[in-house]
Every structure is written in structure tokens, then in C-alpha cells.
């Protein structure tokens, strides 16, 4: 067994027994880590694989959340039935944005700004859609807490943890498959040099759109989870630009374009943010904003001194290629 496989098995084993070891708070932090790992992995398909910088991924989380949430809220249709719709809608949105952007030759920073603009546009738009509750929010009905109802994704916290764990593992497997497939080769070629990729017969436009569709669809699944985990949705919360940045952070801290980076990065930055709160409390320095400053400084240090992210140098040290 290779070192990577060993590490992966070990991690998975720890992750599987974690709910038995951890208290409620740790479990919720664990769920949060997995959530960010998953969304960041999804984002990584676009940026890490295909090289297209999206800063508006909250859009797809929101579409997924609202699609599945609204089906449940208005028609009592459970999340699993809502899932395909959520994925389809988000993928469609991704395709539309990608087609517009790439057809008109929007790229780089401009593309990033375009994705922000679409997300913001949608956020404000949702503020004026009364069917989804507008800014007042959409509140999903909550069932009894001790019954495990997989059909409606209702149950104790551990259920959500395992759902998220399954999703994260699934995303890792999917991304690993993708990376080794024709798509993976083509995307990386496009990322490295679009012109050269095109000269090798790659229809750059089509493959970029595909990357966007897959990334958006994957992200939407986390939105469905988000809706049923939180039970209340507000456009301001869901589509916020800050959300999009959180999604990006995992990959960037962990290592853009790597498979383990997003997972590792999500863990680091979630623990950092929680740890900073605890640490500041421990040293009696509970001033509003102090956590944010610590967070910002650490982020700054990582970016300045570890431009590849934390994972690649660590992997080298562990002897994993």
C-alpha cells in the first residue's frame, strides 16, 4: 500500500469513529470542516484543475440550498428528490455564466469579477422573491430530533456529520478519477497554457464550460446539505461574497490544484478560526475583532511564505507525491 493510501485509510478511520470520541461542539466543528472541505474541493475543479478563478461560488451553494429548501418547504419534497433539481439548476447556471464569459473572451481577474457580479446580482434578486421568503428568510420545518430520518435528512448531529463525510469522500474519489481522466488532462493543459492546449486539438471552450458545470453541480449538493443542516436560509447569509471567499480559502491554504489540499486547508482554517477564539479567550483578550485580526495575519503569513499552500511541502516531507 502506498503512503498516500495508508494516510487516506488512516484519516478515514479516524473520521469514521470521530463522533464517538467527540463532544457535540467538536462534532459540529468536524461537520463544518467537512463542509468546507467539500465545497473547496468542488471549487478546486474550476480553479485548481481548469484554471478559472471563480469568486462567486456562493451562488451555487445558494441555488442548491434554495432549490431543495423550497421544494421541501412548499411541497414537502425531501432533499434526495430535490438534489437532482438542485444540481441541475446550479450546473445550468454555471453553464450559462461560463458560456457567456468564455464566448466573449472574459478571463482572469475579469472572469473572477464577473462571477462575483452574478452572485451579488442573485443575492439581491432573492431579496425580492417572495416565494422563497425574500430577505425574511425561508424557515424549514424541524422534525423530532431523536429519530433518524434519512429520507428527509432529519436526525441527530452525527447524521449530518456522516452525510458530509460521505460527500467529502465521494468528492475526493470523483476528483481523483477526474484528474486521471481525459478531462483532467485537458483541464490541466488549459490551465497551464490555453493556446498550446488548443493547438493540441482541445476544444477549450467546451472543456472549460464542462469544468464549470461539474464544479457548480458539485457545489450545489453542499447547498442542499446547508439548507437541511441549518433549516433557515437568508439570501444575505447564503449568497454573501464572504461565503464565496470561505469556499476559496480551504483550497488556497491547503494547495490549489491538489487533491488533499482542500481537505487539509479546510481543517486548518476552521480549526484556526475556532482555535483563535479559544486562545484569545484563554489569554483574556476578548475584544471584538481580535479573532479576525489573528485570522487575517495567519492567512497573510501562509500566503507570503507558503505560496503553494500547506499541503504540497508537507506531502513532500511525508514522502507522498
Amino acid at each position: 500500500m502506498s503512503r498516500a493510501a495508508l494516510l487516506l485509510t488512516g484519516l478515514l478511520a479516524v473520521a469514521l469513529v470521530f463522533p464517538w470520541l467527540a463532544g457535540g461542539y467538536a462534532l459540529s466543528v468536524g461537520t463544518l470542516i467537512l463542509y468546507f472541505a467539500y465545497t473547496s474541493q468542488s471549487w478546486n475543479v474550476m480553479m485548481g484543475f481548469a484554471g478559472q478563478l471563480s469568486l462567486g461560488h456562493a451562488l451555487y451553494v445558494g441555488i442548491g440550498a434554495y432549490a431543495a429548501g423550497a421544494l421541501f418547504y412548499h411541497f414537502g419534497i425531501g432533499p434526495w428528490a430535490g438534489l437532482p433539481l438542485a444540481v441541475a439548476l446550479a450546473a445550468l447556471a454555471g453553464v450559462v455564466i461560463a458560456c457567456l464569459a468564455f464566448r466573449f473572451g472574459v478571463s482572469g481577474v475579469y472572469f473572477a469579477l464577473l462571477t462575483i457580479a452574478f452572485a451579488e446580482f442573485t443575492r439581491i434578486g432573492f431579496d425580492h422573491v417572495s416565494w422563497t421568503g425574500g430577505p425574511g428568510g425561508m424557515f424549514l420545518k424541524v422534525e423530532q430530533r431523536d429519530s433518524i430520518d434519512l429520507v428527509h435528512l432529519r436526525g441527530p448531529p452525527a447524521l449530518y456529520y456522516y452525510v458530509m463525510l460521505a460527500l467529502t469522500a465521494g468528492a475526493l474519489a470523483l476528483c481523483s478519477r477526474l484528474l486521471g481522466s481525459r478531462a483532467g488532462y485537458y483541464w490541466r493543459a488549459i490551465r497551464e497554457n490555453e493556446e498550446a492546449a488548443q493547438a493540441l486539438g482541445i476544444n477549450v471552450f467546451r472543456w472549460k464550460v464542462l469544468a464549470m458545470a461539474i464544479s457548480a453541480g458539485m457545489t450545489a449538493i453542499s447547498g442542499v446539505f446547508f439548507a437541511f443542516y441549518n433549516n433557515s436560509l437568508f439570501p444575505e447569509q447564503v449568497f454573501n461574497t464572504g461565503r464565496s471567499i470561505e469556499i476559496v480559502l480551504g483550497s488556497v491554504i491547503g494547495g490549489v490544484g491538489t487533491l488533499f489540499g482542500p481537505i487539509f486547508g479546510a481543517a486548518v482554517f476552521t480549526l484556526l478560526s475556532e482555535g483563535a477564539t479559544e486562545a484569545l479567550r484563554a489569554v483574556g483578550w476578548e475584544i471584538p475583532g481580535s479573532k479576525g485580526v489573528v485570522y487575517g495575519v495567519v492567512l497573510l503569513l501562509v500566503i507570503v511564505f507558503l505560496p503553494q499552500g500547506i499541503w504540497p511541502p508537507l506531502a513532500r516531507r511525508l514522502g507522498i507525491r
Binding site: M47, L53, L55, L100, A101, F104, G105, V106, G108, V109, Y110, A112, L113, L114, I116, A117, F118, E120, F121, I124, G125, D127, H128, P135, T241, G242, I245, V248, L249, V252, V256, I287, P288, G289, S290, K291, G292, V293, Y295, G296, V297, L299, L300, I303, V304, P307
Partner: protein, 289 residues
């Protein structure tokens, strides 16, 4: 809808837009030359606003007079930021630069929160509640002065780029990085200078804006986005484009607020941004590159 109403709203939109335009001008200059996306732009401006509010609270210094010290301080800070940090990033990939400035923005927002708490600060001067009256048309005095300051600052900056050797050198850098290096320009120093000048725009706009808007630590990100919208719509690297873009956004949001629900008016800006990016990526007033 009466003419007075539209005229009143449009005029105030133009005036506010000019101030926003000045802020965006700072972004345009930085982006146009250094090619780095300043995602901490609005956050920097909220720092300037705090500085102005603080100078007022401590010394009763009118924000229009506070412009001088704040601008000088910002020039130094901007220069230092570029020279010490961002210059190391000019060859890094875009997402890396973006995160660097996100981190800077985070530190600024939360630093302000730590230093000043969450409550809004404002400046109270006599002319703030006064207006020029032309029949039914009322023009807010503070707003008019702020817009005037924005225009003067933009003109000075324009003059600098056109008539001074350094200004011309900076433009050369913007046009062609390698050529500029080949002819022996100290590019990195010029970059730092540019960032300093961008920061001055931000400082002046921030001081002017304290008269119109109460400042809170969380104000920054909103203005960062606004600055981007203006710069892209107006045309990157076009100085007049940034000002006109500001005016356009100011007026469209103002008039939009009359026609549709005011809470939806920002959709117009983002909608405009999307359309411009797709159809005229060089901006409405920019040259095709």
C-alpha cells in the same frame, strides 16, 4: 413622477457618484499600473474615514482640512504596503494576489473593530444639514463640496500623470513592464509610488465621504465591490472613465431607486457590470487594447 423629484435625486446621484468615482480612480490607477487587484480597497477607505472622524472628534478638524494629513499618511502607507508586501506578489498567480489582499482587508476591518468598536462614527459640521436651494431643487452642501474636492483631486492626479516625468514613467510602466525595465526605470519603486497615489485617492474620497456616510468597521467590503463595478464599467486605466463610471453608477442607482424598489437598486450596478464585461470589456470609456 415629478420632474423635481427626478432632478433632485439625479443631482445627488451625480455628486455622490463623483466621490465614489474618486475612490474608484484610486483602484483604477493601482490596477492599471501594478496589475494587482486591490481587494482591500474599500477597507482602506474605511480606515481613512475613521481617521477623518477621529481628527474631527479630537481636534474639531473639518474633514476637508483633514484631507491633507490623512492623504500624506495614506501615501506613506500605500507606498510601504506595495514596497514591503505586494511587490513580492506581482509575478504570483492571480488567486494568490487576491488572497493576499483579502487577508489585508480582513486585518483592516477587524483592526478597526478592535480599535473603535462596532458603533457608527460620524462627523457633525454646521453645513452638513444645509442645502443650496434652486426653486424646488435642493442640493446638499456637504455633498456638493465633496464632489468638488473629488474633481479637484482627479484633475491634480491627471496633471501629475501628464506633465511630470515620474507620471509619464509610471504610464510607461503600465504600458509595458518589460520595456520599462529595459529603458532602466526602477519599476518596483514606481509601482510603490503608484500604490501610494492610489491610496491618496482613497484617503481624499474617504475624508469627503465621512460627511455623507457614517463610518462603521464593516463598511469596507461593500465599497471594494462598488469600486470594482465603477472601474470596470468606466474602463480600466481610463481616469475620466473612473469618474464618469462613478457618476453613471451614482445616477443609475439613484434613479433606479425611484423606478424600482430601492432595496433592489444595487442590482442595476451589478447588472450593468455584467453587461459591460460581456459586451465591452474595455469599459464604456476605455480604449480597446
Amino acid at each position: 413622477m415629478s420632474f423635481d423629484l427626478v432632478a433632485n435625486v439625479a443631482i445627488s446621484g451625480i455628486l455622490t457618484g463623483l466621490v465614489y468615482g474618486l475612490m474608484a480612480l484610486g483602484l483604477s490607477v493601482i490596477f492599471g499600473v501594478v496589475r494587482v487587484v486591490n481587494f482591500a480597497h474599500g477597507q482602506m477607505m474605511s480606515v481613512a474615514m475613521y481617521a477623518a472622524a477621529l481628527l474631527f472628534a479630537r481636534f474639531e478638524l473639518d474633514p476637508f482640512l483633514a484631507v491633507a494629513p490623512v492623504a500624506v499618511a495614506f501615501f506613506v502607507l500605500g507606498y510601504a504596503l506595495q514596497a514591503g508586501l505586494i511587490n513580492r506578489f506581482i509575478t504570483r498567480p492571480e488567486h494568490s494576489q487576491f488572497l493576499l489582499l483579502v487577508a489585508v482587508g480582513l486585518i483592516l476591518v477587524n483592526g478597526l473593530l478592535m480599535a473603535f468598536g462596532p458603533d457608527a462614527r460620524s462627523v457633525q459640521v454646521d453645513y452638513q444639514l444645509e442645502s443650496f436651494e434652486f426653486g424646488d431643487i435642493l442640493i446638499d452642501k456637504a455633498r456638493a463640496y465633496a464632489a468638488g474636492l473629488a474633481i479637484v483631486t482627479a484633475l491634480l492626479l491627471g496633471g501629475f500623470f501628464r506633465f511630470t516625468w515620474t507620471g509619464v514613467a509610471i504610464r510607461a510602466c503600465a504600458d509595458n513592464y518589460f520595456a520599462a525595465r529595459v529603458v532602466g526605470l526602477h519599476v518596483r519603486r514606481l509601482y510603490a509610488l503608484t500604490f501610494g497615489l492610489g491610496a491618496v485617492c482613497v484617503a481624499v474620497a474617504g475624508c469627503a465621504l465621512t460627511l455623507l456616510v457614517d463610518v462603521t468597521p464593516s463598511l469596507g467590503p461593500h465599497y471594494t465591490l462598488l469600486a470594482f463595478v465603477i472601474v470596470i464599467v468606466g474602463g480600466l486605466g481610463s481616469m475620466i472613465g473612473a469618474l464618469l463610471g462613478g457618476v453613471l453608477i451614482g445616477v443609475s442607482e439613484a434613479v433606479g431607486g425611484l423606478l424600482i424598489s430601492p432595496s433592489a437598486k444595487s442590482m442595476l450596478s451589478f447588472g450593468l457590470l455584467i453587461v459591460v464585461l460581456l459586451l465591452r470589456p474595455q469599459g464604456l470609456f476605455g480604449r480597446r487594447s
